[in-house]
């Protein structure tokens, strides 16, 4: 289509004039029969319901696997008996319902939330290399949370509020610092962004470690690992409500803001000329992304790379429009983190690997691949 053009040359073959017809991956027009009535379009939009259905099924399967596998193997039939049949008595039920269920639920919530936060951060900085972990938001949340833990702010209800609040504040501060450092003269290059993110992340992780070592915490090595690498091992039924509510509300709000999120992809000036008050909107999205990240990290520690990989995979499947992308990314993130946690629990059994190590093992190489690809296509190191 590139060479032969002109008003007539750009048109699809006669018969496919109206909505362009079937299109292969290379964007070629399939030959359409004469006057083919409304040829079905296989666009990303039409595919979304099927993708969502597949992801829901995958989520159910991984969740059942997460409940069944572990030091004690529970046959899937018994898992379903406990979950659906309401058998809450007996040792099997204790393992499935009291031990593993909160962990699976937290895993799904955290995975979904990190993927959603990653998706909107990528739109916000117009850069595929963004993710809550790489931009320092997760480390900021850890640092904030650790301060509260070490200071021992209150107990019970007070701590239940203080911990996530401090994590939210920490995550927000980290993002603002990275943003300010990466931005110069109204533009922000990918290279500066990644460097600023990594620097902030290192400083905050070091701070977290230092605070824990200086505190009287006898187990500081373990706690440092929890906060800097993340783990779902601490999941408890009575702590699930807050992350779940934040995830659902945050995802719904951001999906409702799909249109302005799409506009951000047109660039700062483009979005502005299309009627978006970019300053206000960006601030709002910053707060939402920090809130989701901060609250989740308060319960799971800083699990990395989920927010980097999942949005990419989701975009490859349903395209970049946020109304479709966000729900797909959320479900995909949940499935991904459940799988990662399954590996973390079973790969080196009876030992447990922090789930952040599993996600980093998958995410690091992915990041390198992305970096190579982006620098080839966009000169991203600039």
């Amino acid at each position: 289509m590139r060479g032969a053009r002109g008003p007539a040359g750009t048109r699809a073959p006669a018969g496919t004039r109206a909505p362009a017809g079937l299109r292969g991956p290379a964007g070629t027009c399939a030959p359409a029969g004469p006057r083919a009535p409304a040829a079905p379009r296989r666009t990303a939009g039409a595919r979304t319901p099927a993708v969502l259905a597949v992801l829901v099924a995958a989520l159910v399967v991984t969740a059942v696997a997460g409940l069944a596998l572990g030091p004690v193997r529970v046959p899937p039939r018994d898992v379903l008996g406990v979950v659906l049949g309401g058998e809450r008595a007996g040792p099997l039920a204790a393992v499935v319902w009291d031990l593993r269920m909160p962990r699976v639920l937290l895993g799904a919530v955290v995975g979904a939330g990190l993927a959603v936060a990653g998706t909107v951060l990528q739109a916000l900085v117009r850069n595929p290399l963004a993710d809550p972990f790489l931009l320092g938001a997760s480390s900021g949340a850890s640092a904030g949370a650790v301060v509260v833990v070490v200071l021992g702010v209150g107990a019970g209800a007070a701590a239940a509020v203080a911990l996530p609040s401090a994590a939210f504040a920490g995550s927000m501060c980290a993002l603002v610092v990275v943003w300010a450092a990466a931005r110069r003269g109204g533009t922000m290059t990918a290279g500066r962004l990644v460097l600023a993110g990594v620097a902030v992340q290192y400083v905050l992780s070091a701070f977290t470690g230092l605070v824990l070592v200086l505190s009287a915490d006898a187990e500081h090595a373990r706690t440092i690992m929890f906060w800097t690498l993340g783990s779902l091992g601490g999941a408890r039924w009575d702590e699930l409500a807050l992350p779940a509510v934040v995830l659902v509300v945050g995802t719904l709000l951001l999906t409702a803001l799909a249109r302005p999120l799409d506009l951000l992809l047109a660039g700062e000036e483009g979005a502005h000329t299309l009627g978006l008050d970019t300053h206000r909107f960006r601030a709002a999205v910053f707060v939402l992304a920090s809130l989701v990240t901060g609250v989740l990290v308060a319960f799971s520690g800083a699990i990395g790379f989920v927010g980097l990989m999942v949005p990419h995979a989701a975009r490859a499947v349903v395209g970049a429009g946020h109304r479709r992308l966000l729900p797909v990314a959320a479900l995909g993130g949940a499935v991904f983190l459940l799988l990662a946690d399954l590996v973390a629990r079973t790969a080196a059994a009876p030992r447990e690997v922090p789930v952040g190590i599993v996600t980093a093992l998958a995410g690091g190489p992915f990041f390198l691949w992305l970096l190579r690809r982006s620098s080839r296509t966009e000169g991203i190191a600039g």
Partner: protein, 276 residues
């Protein structure tokens, strides 16, 4: 489909940043339906002026009137309903499709959470047809060639339903054929157009009137035939040129002469042969 063409009036528009004056009391008028060209050397303030008109920069002096209303009083959205922009760098946009990109143009007419309806889809389809890009609808914007992408961005501006279209070097990076196509297309839209152009011959052929900027000021304005003179080119651009109405087009045609150099034999007549 298209809103009534707007009238634009800039009165003494100035822009200063960090103590530097980029724009100094520029006056400009574009009547409804007119295509007005903005030309001038690099750094003369063309893009700054355009940005003051479409509102990403707020003039530090003077004012911009759109249909007689002070543009500074318009909200971001309200202004986007009146002025659409085809800017130089549109970015790669993460793999949005052409259709999605064009649909963005409906945003100023929508609430944030509002979805596009069938009416919007029709507008998008019609705009794509109008720029001859309907076959590209499901392609990714970042896969397109420069000329195709430029036409898609014009389509996006069209569904914005603007009275005024502001274009910043829309022919940049395009080959000759695409340059002519884009400008011909813009002229047929029926909007009032304000176009920044580098190429003076394109400007002469496609604009009703030209404004020449030099060092942030309007140094000349009027129909191309009156504005583009050899004296003006020498003064504003510092180049030697010959300007003559081309017999085939009837519009002024500029031919640049090489600067007088001591190494070559001075032979103005020999060089003039190359004009023809």
């Amino acid at each position: 489909m298209t809103a009534r063409p707007a009238s634009l009036r800039a009165e003494g528009v100035g822009y200063e940043v960090h103590g530097r004056t980029l724009l100094d009391g520029a006056d400009l008028t574009a009547h409804p339906g007119e295509t007005v060209g903005l030309v001038g050397p690099n750094g003369s303030g063309k893009t700054t002026f355009l940005r003051c008109v479409y509102g990403t920069l707020r003039p530090t002096a003077g004012r911009v009137l759109l249909d007689g209303r002070d543009a500074a009083a318009l909200g971001v959205k309200e202004r986007a309903r009146r002025v659409a922009v085809v800017a130089q760098d549109a970015g790669s946009a993460f793999g949005l499709t052409v259709r999605e990109t064009v649909a963005m143009g409906r945003s100023p007419h929508k609430r944030f959470w509002e979805q596009d309806g069938p009416g919007d889809a029709r507008r998008v389809a019609r705009a794509l047809e109008r720029v001859g890009a309907e076959a590209l609808a499901d392609r990714r914007l970042d896969e397109l060639s420069g000329g195709e992408r430029q036409r898609v961005l014009v389509a996006r501006a069209l569904v914005q339903d603007p009275g005024l279209l502001a274009l910043d070097e829309p022919t940049n990076h395009l080959d000759v054929r695409h340059q002519l196509e884009i400008l011909g297309l813009v002229r047929r839209l029926g909007t009032t157009n304000l176009v920044v152009l580098h190429d003076l011959n394109l400007a002469a052929a496609h604009c009703d009137r030209l404004y020449v900027l030099g060092a942030g000021r309007v140094v000349a304005s009027g129909p191309p035939g009156e504005v583009l003179t050899e004296e003006l080119l020498a003064e504003v651009y510092g180049v030697r040129a010959r300007v003559a109405v081309h017999p085939a087009t009837g519009v002024p045609n500029v031919v640049y002469l090489p600067p007088p150099s001591p190494s070559r034999r001075p032979g103005p007549d020999a060089q003039e042969v190359r004009i023809r």
